[in-house]
């Protein structure tokens, strides 16, 4: 009897080990979309034929995400879609990518663990997509000089193996402002609302609001943008409440810089219009209200950076792409609700941004307090120093 128990327990342990091994396997399989990685050279002949790029078999690239890639919408998904686009464009094999998702960026232990696992898996290039990974990534970059680290949205870098990347989303916000302004002009309204995650101390959010307002004012000079701050990047019920308050205060177009589409759903319910963010927020529920959304095409950067690493031409230069590079774009215009000739107006402004004749934060901007900025804002100012609203923008 005793012997039998021993054999049984041994069997159980063996089964458990097998199960764990199976888990580990499926883990890496699950995180990649097999359709995009399966022999992409045949699915994308045009893209590959122009490239003489040959991905070495021992090349490995990893990406670190704050939330789960299974959710298929929002911030992480936008990054992961870009990553998968790079994988299929360059013909990187499934066995050559390492995806770590659902790693909270405020948890240093978990961040370290994930990065260590990626380094131990022999990654040559690691992307980290959330702001608070920054310091941990820097530590790793110093410790592993042979691995290239690229961090999104932060400001740290070194001149060897660690850079940061972000984009001129304000350009797209300006263009979306034109769409909002034309809609307001068409219906004789003056007020737009903006649900902001952070207050004016956050340059990214504040610059985005200013750019949106400038876009509106380019077609409707005396328009106002009212801002409500939720104080959190992700707070669905707060974002809804803020949007409702803006609608109650007479806002005719609701724009947003926060994670959920709740402001857009509120706009739809309140029979006003909306400008989303991150992904195309024109859905079945918002098809009668959502006009256009500024979006990110991260694939542009991931493809360029990975290609450079494979070719050995990668340099530690901070990347700040925009409309020109295709990193920043707009979701398709919802022509069912947009004002007449919106697309023409957006295309015209976009052409001017591309040829350099339109600079969003050009000299002569008037701040809300009446003072005038005597120079065009530099990239450094745009990414870190905008802490004021411009004329026509105010907290509600």
């Amino acid at each position: 009897m005793k012997k039998l128990t021993k054999i049984l327990s041994l069997l159980l342990i063996a089964a458990m080990l097998l199960a764990f091994a199976a888990c580990a396997n499926t883990d890496t399989n699950d995180t990649t979309d097999p359709t995009t990685t399966a022999d992409s050279s045949s699915t994308n002949p045009s893209e590959i034929s122009s490239e003489t790029l040959k991905v070495p078999d021992d090349f490995k690239v990893g990406i670190l995400h704050i939330s789960s890639v299974a959710i298929q919408s929002g911030y992480t998904w936008a990054h992961h879609k870009g990553f998968l686009e790079m994988v299929s464009t360059l013909g990187v094999k499934e066995s050559q990518i390492v995806v770590k998702d659902d790693v909270p960026d405020n948890d240093v232990t978990k961040t370290k663990q994930a990065l260590q696992e990626m380094v131990d898996a022999d990654c040559d290039l690691i992307f980290a997509t959330s702001y608070n990974y920054m310091n941990t990534v820097k530590e790793f970059a110093d410790e592993y000089p042979d691995v290239i680290f690229s961090h999104c949205s932060g400001y740290l870098s070194n001149d060897k193996n660690f850079n940061n990347y972000f984009g001129r989303i304000y350009e797209a916000r300006y263009l979306s402002g034109i769409a909002a302004g034309l809609k307001m002009k068409e219906d004789g309204k003056k007020i737009a609302g903006y649900v902001a995650a952070m207050n004016n101390q956050n340059a990214e959010v504040t610059g985005g609001i200013n750019a949106f307002a400038l876009g509106i004012q380019s077609v409707l000079p005396d328009a106002e943008v009212k801002v409500k701050v939720t104080g959190s990047w992700y707070a669905p019920e707060q974002e809804g409440a803020a949007a409702q308050a803006l609608i109650d205060a007479g806002a005719y177009v609701i724009a947003q810089h926060c994670d959920t589409e709740n402001p857009q759903l509120k706009a739809s319910d309140g029979k006003v219009f909306g400008v989303g963010y991150n992904t195309d927020m024109t859905t079945e529920a918002t098809k009668n209200s959502h006009i256009i959304a500024p979006i990110w095409n991260w694939g542009v950067y991931y493809t360029e950076a990975t290609k450079a690493v494979i070719n050995g031409t990668w340099k530690s230069v901070n990347y700040y792409g925009g409309t020109k590079e295709g990193l920043i774009g707009l979701s398709p215009l919802n022509t069912a609700v947009a004002a007449k000739d919106t697309q023409t107006a957006i295309d015209a402004a976009k052409a001017k941004i591309l040829d350099g004749s339109l600079i969003v934060f050009d000299k002569g901007l008037t701040k809300a307090d009446g003072s005038i900025i005597d120079h065009a804002l530099t990239d450094e100012e745009i990414t870190g120093k905008i802490d004021y609203y411009i004329k026509g923008v105010s907290l509600l």
Binding site: K228, G240, A245, D248, T283
Partner: protein, 316 residues
């Protein structure tokens, strides 16, 4: 005037899930069971209600699913604390962790199966939409009082609970089980049955509160990283704030709802206070109520005497 009505609407809107959560927890605590799993049960209810709504399109089935799923979680809590006499605080906290995790895992699986976060069809949302009551004398004909059917349901539940505890024999038995289970036991009350019934019913009601958040607060869109986000904890604080009185819960929930939305309705030009201050207000208020009532040492403070204490018949 218009602004005031808009503010009342916002307070009712934010207060409704709190009212369900508060009443659910209150019912559990009346029988002496401090269930700190409100947050978890609300998350479970939010997922179950949403999933049932997506699959069946029926508002009734959706609410039943939310009630059932959360009641099931509460039943596990009841088995652990009443039958096995596990520590109530620890079990409740575990239930919260479990419920939040379960809801996120299942929600993520649902998103994956659906190819993105799903939305409920407009036809479903119309079934639970607010009645718009025009306010005579308001400046603009757009401004109406918006009352959700579920808000009315929650208020009716509170009134029924108040009547039940005050006027019925069973209500007395439940209260006795929460105040002095030994005495209730001696008087022939089935203490365990009272506790089981209270915990399960209370849990189910918390679940409906969660469903309100995923169906109404989130405008019928699944929020992949969760929608309840702390409302369950506010409900636990609210039970103390309303001194375990179901009728007061109605007022308390809407006052807390008003706190939740106040910062969006006080113009920045009038007074500019950091957001965090507004978010803190409900809890400061709860603290003050706690201090005041403990200073008065009133026997009518309302807290069930045997709350949080498991009942061992053998130790009588």
């Amino acid at each position: 005037m218009d602004n005031a009505i808009n503010f009342i609407n916002a307070a009712l809107f934010a207060g409704t899930p709190l009212l369900f959560g508060t009443l659910g927890e209150l019912i559990s605590e009346k029988a002496g069971c401090l269930n700190l799993g409100v947050e978890g049960m609300m998350w479970v209810g939010a997922f179950a209600g949403f999933f049932a709504a997506l699959q069946t399109g029926s508002a009734m089935l959706s609410l039943l699913a939310a009630f059932g799923a959360a009641a099931l979680c509460a039943a596990v809590y009841a088995f652990l604390t009443v039958t096995l006499r596990a520590n109530q605080n620890v079990t409740g906290l575990t239930l919260t962790t479990f419920g939040v995790g379960l809801s996120l895992v299942l929600g993520s699986a649902m998103c994956q199966a659906n190819g993105g976060a799903p939305n409920l069809p407009g036809s479903f949302r119309d079934k639970i939409a607010a009645f718009k009551i025009p306010i005579p004398g308001s400046g603009d004909d757009v401004v109406k009082l918006a009352v959700y059917p579920l808000t009315i349901f929650a208020i009716v539940l509170c009134i029924s609970a108040a009547v039940f505890y005050k006027k019925t024999r069973h209500g007395l038995s439940v209260r006795a089980s929460g105040e002095n289970p030994a005495a209730a036991d001696a008087a022939g009350v089935n203490v365990s049955a009272m506790k089981y019934a209270s915990i399960i019913l209370g849990g189910g009601i918390c679940g409906i509160g969660g469903a309100f958040m995923s169906l109404v607060t989130a405008n019928g869109a699944w929020m992949p990283a969760g929608i309840v986000n702390g409302f369950g904890w506010i409900a636990v604080a609210l039970v103390i704030f309303v001194r375990w009185k179901p009728m007061l819960a109605i007022l308390g929930a809407f006052v807390f709802g008003a706190f939740q939305s106040m910062r969006y309705y006080i113009p920045d030009s009038v007074i500019s206070i950091p957001n965090a201050f507004y978010q803190m207000l409900p809890f400061v208020l709860t603290l003050i109520v706690l201090i005041v009532t403990s200073m008065r040492k009133s026997v009518h403070a309302g807290e069930p005497a045997a709350i949080g204490v498991n009942y061992y018949r053998e130790e009588r």
